[in-house]
């Protein structure tokens, strides 16, 4: 059974913008899939359809063979718990501590009142500290997030996602606001999570050099449609021009 399957997914926003048209895609368990394309080509919408932050206008999304296209309420929350997500802008609580932020990832399995008063069970807190260790921030647990660097913030977000014990991790341009060296550090953590924990990673990226270095498979979007699917090495000069337009020039990030 395919791990994740999108069948003819279309998304038209209320303002009439067609973000995705007829996207079909299969993702196998344990893959490291990169999604590339210009800004506005539909990468973010595609990722948000997968964990159903966005509901597709038509088409189907199957997760382990189960149709999740239009689920709602508790069913939707249960589904979201199985998929972690990290963002370009990190989206963590600046004024709280690192640990408090990581615990947010466990909200799905902690009772509402416990989470509201901040009384997380001991084993959850221990798991959070363990996940901080995985991303190399064990010594920062009690520090306020706003004191951290961009790369560290993204690692906090990764630790938060790990709290969901996710089967898949969606990454929406995770390194787009980081400098090259930090980008590699964050990407290596994603690689490690993919290889050692067996988490399927679906990651949108700007830089082809990062795609070649980390992804095993690439999907390219152009104006809401998939125009390329294959191994990173197969993206030739011609494909590059087709995906990014004639004006584009490849920039290397080392």
């Amino acid at each position: 059974m395919t791990f994740l399957e999108l069948q003819n997914v279309r998304k038209i926003f209320p303002n009439g913008v067609v973000a995705l048209q007829d996207v079909s895609l299969r993702v196998e368990r344990g893959e490291f899939l990169a999604i590339i394309g210009l800004s506005g080509s539909g990468k973010s919408t595609l990722l948000r359809c997968i964990n159903r932050l966005i509901e597709p206008s038509s088409g189907r999304i199957l997760f382990e063979g189960v149709d999740v296209t239009h689920i709602r309420g508790e069913q939707l929350r249960q589904y979201r718990r199985r998929i972690g997500m990290i963002f370009q802008q990190f989206n963590i609580i600046e004024r709280r501590t690192v640990l408090e932020n990581v615990l947010v990832g466990a909200l799905g399995r902690v009772s509402i009142w416990r989470s509201l008063v901040g009384a997380f069970p001991m084993e959850v807190v221990e798991e959070a500290l363990h996940n901080l260790e995985i991303v190399g921030l064990a010594d920062k647990a009690t520090e306020r997030v706003r004191m951290l660097s961009g790369g560290q913030k993204q690692r906090v977000a990764i630790a938060r996602a790990l709290m969901q014990r996710p089967e898949a991790l969606l990454a929406d341009e995770p390194v787009a606001s980081l400098d090259p060296a930090t980008s590699h550090s964050v990407m290596r953590y994603l690689e490690e999570i993919n290889r050692q924990l067996g988490v399927t990673v679906i990651c949108s990226l700007h830089f082809l050099s990062l795609v070649r270095r980390y992804a095993r498979r690439v999907v390219a979007l152009r104006a809401g449609s998939i125009v390329f699917e294959g191994a990173p090495a197969e993206i030739t000069e011609e494909w590059f021009r087709y995906i990014y337009g004639d004006e584009a020039q490849e920039v290397e990030i080392r």
Binding site: R82, G84, F87, V104, L170
Partner: protein, 335 residues
């Protein structure tokens, strides 16, 4: 509404308004120097015709303000200058009308007798009577507490309503959105009724005194804070909300972890600012019987004891200044 209808409506309004001013103020009031007669149907017809004439001018000669907002750059030089003169004429007529209507009279302002009385009064105000200082301070304390209680009582409902009156929180479902729309109307109505009028309402309800004043300000505080809070909630970064949603958290948890951390400090700042505003407002409300220093002020003013009034004004000014300063400092500290 399309640009075209806006321009036609504007021209019609200008013609009508200009005709009313010319006839009522310039002709009846200034030339005939009489009391304004009741409005008659022919007069209304005359106004409407004037409006239509300006609309016609705008459409055919394109030399009115309406034409200007509709065609802007396409207009010729003389048409633009003409439109500008419409504006200037209206401005002059309006100021003239305002002068007549508010009965502005420099003679009264500068009359010898008036100046003497004012001088006496200012003299008395400037030599305040310090023997009633304890009485004034006690009344001031009451005023400050009226303001404080109104703020504290208004706070909890305003926090809840602040979320319920925020578009981004309520738009998920038609039912919640309908409630949001209803709440918006209610809050805007409540806010548009001045606390002074609420004080009148409550003094009939619970009797004249500090309690009525406090209730009046509580109502107004709820409305004002709800508006400020909800705007803050509406302006949050949706990224954090998305992140918490993506963990599979319950909507209550999404609000608590995704929205609340972003609004706590602004809420606090608004609340402090509100207390400060309420102290000033409580003084005024006291004047209509809401208790505190305002009521004391009214009593002495009624007795024409201006030295005592001078002291009360002094106390009010000092306290308002201190509150202003403290609230600004506090808000700075948490920002």
């Amino acid at each position: 509404m399309s640009r075209r209808w806006q321009s036609v409506l504007l021209d019609f309004g200008i013609g009508l308004y200009g005709a009313v001013l010319l006839y009522r103020i310039v002709w009846v009031h200034m030339v005939q120097d009489g009391e304004a007669p009741p409005v008659t149907p022919p007069e209304l017809g005359f106004y409407a015709v004037a409006g239509l004439i300006v609309v016609g001018l705008g459409l055919y000669l394109r030399c009115t303000l309406g034409a200007w907002i509709r065609w802007r750059q396409e207009l010729k030089q003389w048409q633009r200058i003409c439109a500008l003169h419409w504006g200037l004429t209206l401005l002059v007529l309006t100021i003239w009308a305002g002068w007549v209507i508010t009965k502005v009279s420099p003679l009264d302002l500068l009359s010898a007798e008036g100046l003497r009385s004012a001088g006496r009064l200012f003299g008395a105000l400037l030599s305040p009577e310090f023997s009633i200082l304890d009485k004034a301070l006690a009344a001031m304390v009451q005023t400050i507490y009226i303001a404080l209680m109104a703020t504290l009582f208004g706070l909890p409902p305003a926090v809840v309503l602040g979320f319920l009156a925020a578009r981004n929180i309520m738009r998920g479902h038609p039912l919640t959105f309908a409630f949001y729309a209803f709440l918006r109307v209610l809050i805007n109505f409540t806010r548009s009724v001045e606390p002074l009028i609420w004080a009148v309402v409550f003094s009939v309800w619970v009797g004249i005194g500090p309690f009525a004043g406090m209730l009046a300000m509580t109502v107004h505080t709820v409305a004002a804070l709800t508006k400020l809070y909800s705007e803050q909630v509406e302006s949050i970064d949706s990224g954090l909300v998305e992140a918490v949603e993506s963990t599979g958290a319950h909507p209550v948890q999404v609000v608590w972890f995704g929205v609340v951390p972003q609004v706590v400090l602004p809420f606090l700042a608004f609340t402090i600012y509100r207390w400060d505003t309420n102290v000033r407002m409580a003084t005024v409300i006291g004047v209509v019987g809401g208790g505190g220093i305002g009521t004391l002020l009214m009593q002495y003013q009624g007795l024409a004891r201006w030295h005592e009034v001078g002291l009360i004004v002094l106390v009010i000014a000092a306290v308002v200044w201190i509150m202003d300063y403290l609230s600004a400092r506090l808000r700075e500290a948490i920002a």
